[in-house]
């Protein structure tokens, strides 16, 4: 077995998968058939390349074989005619054997349709929850089993959701074409949202250990790749750069987020208490550069504001202090565009830290009771601000409530640690 050829096949698959699926799906207007055909072509490559050597143009080889697979199934369906005028198909068709028609492909490079593919995956007619899995499969070629594990559902359930989404694409007549210019901002936002959802999944599941942890790391890496791809495919979209910057800021702190606990497990460390020596400063630099490029495009949006908030926090590594006043202003900007519950809680903490805990607590009290009653971050924020007012007992009550609402054991360990410290504080409950 020639492992070099197997590695080359795997590497080509990783690099080219999305491009080839996007091209085939766009040409044939059938995502499921395109994936099947490319899957077959990859299996053939793994059989042939170790014996015959890796072809000079592996992508062209895969595309030829996939086309042939598609034509074979299309002949059964009698739809060959509509493809007859495709120059690329014509160029590939007359050849026999498995060698790619390389001179032809050199003259006609495969167009990159991955953005169209991503737009289809995040189409408004596709249920929000399945957009990210669909993108991971169609653009990156992740198999349903790995996606299912990342989303904590059974492989069968995930496979079914993906099949249904692809049927919907076919049946609803969702076209692999550029959206109307008027729709474009909304449509690209849905793409970025799906990419961020993949990263959020990997990021928020802090408590993962063992196999789940490596799966999460893999998912984080795949979603960063997608974010980078979005920037490459939408060079004039400031929010794509904002999203990639935001994800890089988060990544830069991966190693600083946890410290070992006495019992051998890990304890979460909140951002403003993290040891900045454990931050990845090259990622922070890259993220800051992306934010600068985004600003030059002059289209402010929520991802850029969130990234700017992270950038402000990252300044602590240089100046030793957190610019809470500036962070409050950034949150105020964010609340104008995207007043999510998380942003409103973050704003209250920044406001309270910059301008006095009383103002922060008042901002927390303004949030609708029904939304925050079971929202752990609201209780933790409240405890944090009460602690600044030296209202130890009230802070402990809020902290304990937040702890009871927390899902993640490492976060729970952090809250327990804080609670112990609070309960050791002087008993006097004198508001500052």
């Amino acid at each position: 077995m020639n492992t070099g050829a197997a590695e080359a096949a795997a590497l080509t698959a990783r690099d080219a998968y999305g491009r080839l699926v996007a091209y085939l799906a766009w040409r044939w207007n059938d995502l499921a058939a395109a994936e099947d055909a490319l899957g077959d072509a990859l299996i053939k490559a793994l059989e042939r390349w170790p014996q015959d050597g890796v072809p000079e143009q592996p992508e062209g080889w895969l595309l030829t074989v996939a086309h042939r697979e598609l034509l074979q199934s299309a002949r059964h369906l009698g739809v060959v005619q509509r493809l007859a005028d495709d120059p690329l198909v014509r160029g590939l068709l007359p050849r026999e054997g498995d060698a790619a028609p390389e001179p032809f492909l050199k003259a006609h490079p495969i167009p990159d349709n991955r953005l169209r593919l991503m737009l289809v995956c995040a189409h408004p007619a596709i249920e929000r929850g399945v957009r990210t899995p669909l993108m991971l499969q169609a653009v990156l070629g992740l198999d349903a089993q790995r996606i299912a594990a990342a989303f904590l559902v059974s492989p069968a359930a995930m496979a079914q959701r993906l099949v249904r989404a692809k049927q919907k694409i076919a049946q609803a007549g969702i076209r692999f074409e550029e959206p109307e210019p008027a729709d474009l901002p909304q449509r690209t936002h849905a793409v970025l949202e799906a990419v961020y959802a993949a990263y959020g999944l990997a990021w928020e599941r802090l408590g993962a250990a063992g196999e789940q942890a490596s799966l999460n790391a893999e998912l984080a890496a795949e979603s960063l790749y997608l974010a980078e791809l979005c920037v490459a495919l939408m060079p004039n979209d400031a929010e794509a750069r904002g999203l990639w910057a935001l994800m890089l800021f988060c990544e830069s702190r991966r190693l600083a987020r946890f410290v070992p606990a006495p019992d051998g497990s890990e304890r979460f460390v909140p951002l403003h208490e993290q040891d900045t020596a454990h931050w990845d400063h090259s990622k922070i630099e890259r993220a800051n550069a992306l934010l600068g490029e985004a600003a030059a495009l002059d289209q402010l949006g929520p991802y850029q504001l969130e990234a700017a908030i992270q950038s402000a926090h990252a300044q602590r590594a240089v100046t030793g202090r957190v610019p809470w006043g500036g962070i409050t202003q950034l949150y105020q900007g964010l609340l104008q565009i995207a007043p999510t519950l998380g942003a409103r809680v973050g704003h209250a903490v920044a406001l309270g830290t910059a301008h006095g805990a009383a103002r922060g607590l008042a901002a927390l009290d303004e949030l609708p009771e029904a939304e925050v009653r079971n929202h752990a971050p609201w209780w933790v924020a409240r405890a944090h601000l009460l602690e600044q007012q030296r209202r130890w007992q009230d802070a402990a009550v809020a902290l304990r409530h937040g702890m009871g609402l927390t899902e993640d054991p490492r976060l729970r360990a952090h809250l327990w640690y804080k609670l112990q410290a609070l309960q050791a504080a002087p008993v006097t409950d004198t508001p500052a």
Partner: protein, 119 residues
């Protein structure tokens, strides 16, 4: 909808019960659960070695001391909660301290049976 959330703890969870952090986590969780106003009933249970199994076979009562052997997780407690949908029930299940070590089972409660009164 009423759901029973069934806490299944591992042997090491049961051993950790006197531990401050584990006990404290349960205390915080149960307090939050009660405070949300969704609990109908519920209890924690003594560890599995206090269990007794009863079966009636061929009219004979068979009584056995201890839990079912060969299971990694044992029933540690339960709550019946009233929430609008399964999603909320799953959210509460995931917050249980044993969810990250053992597991939590969520089951919809059957509607009350229509039992004729004895006269």
């Amino acid at each position: 909808m009423e759901y029973m959330i069934v806490f299944k703890e591992t042997q090491s969870d049961f051993e950790r019960r006197p531990d401050d952090a584990y006990f404290g986590a349960w205390g915080a969780y149960i307090a939050a659960l009660h405070q949300s106003g969704i609990t109908k009933s519920g209890n924690g249970l003594q560890p599995p070695h206090t269990a007794t199994q009863v079966r009636v076979r061929n009219g004979q009562r068979q009584v056995q001391d201890g839990p079912y052997p060969d299971t990694k997780e044992h029933l540690g407690g339960y709550f019946v909660i009233d929430v609008p949908s399964l999603d909320q029930a799953l959210e509460w299940a995931a917050r249980a301290p044993c969810a990250s070590t053992g597991s939590v089972e969520v089951r919809p409660v059957l509607p009350p049976m229509d039992i004729p009164h004895a006269t």
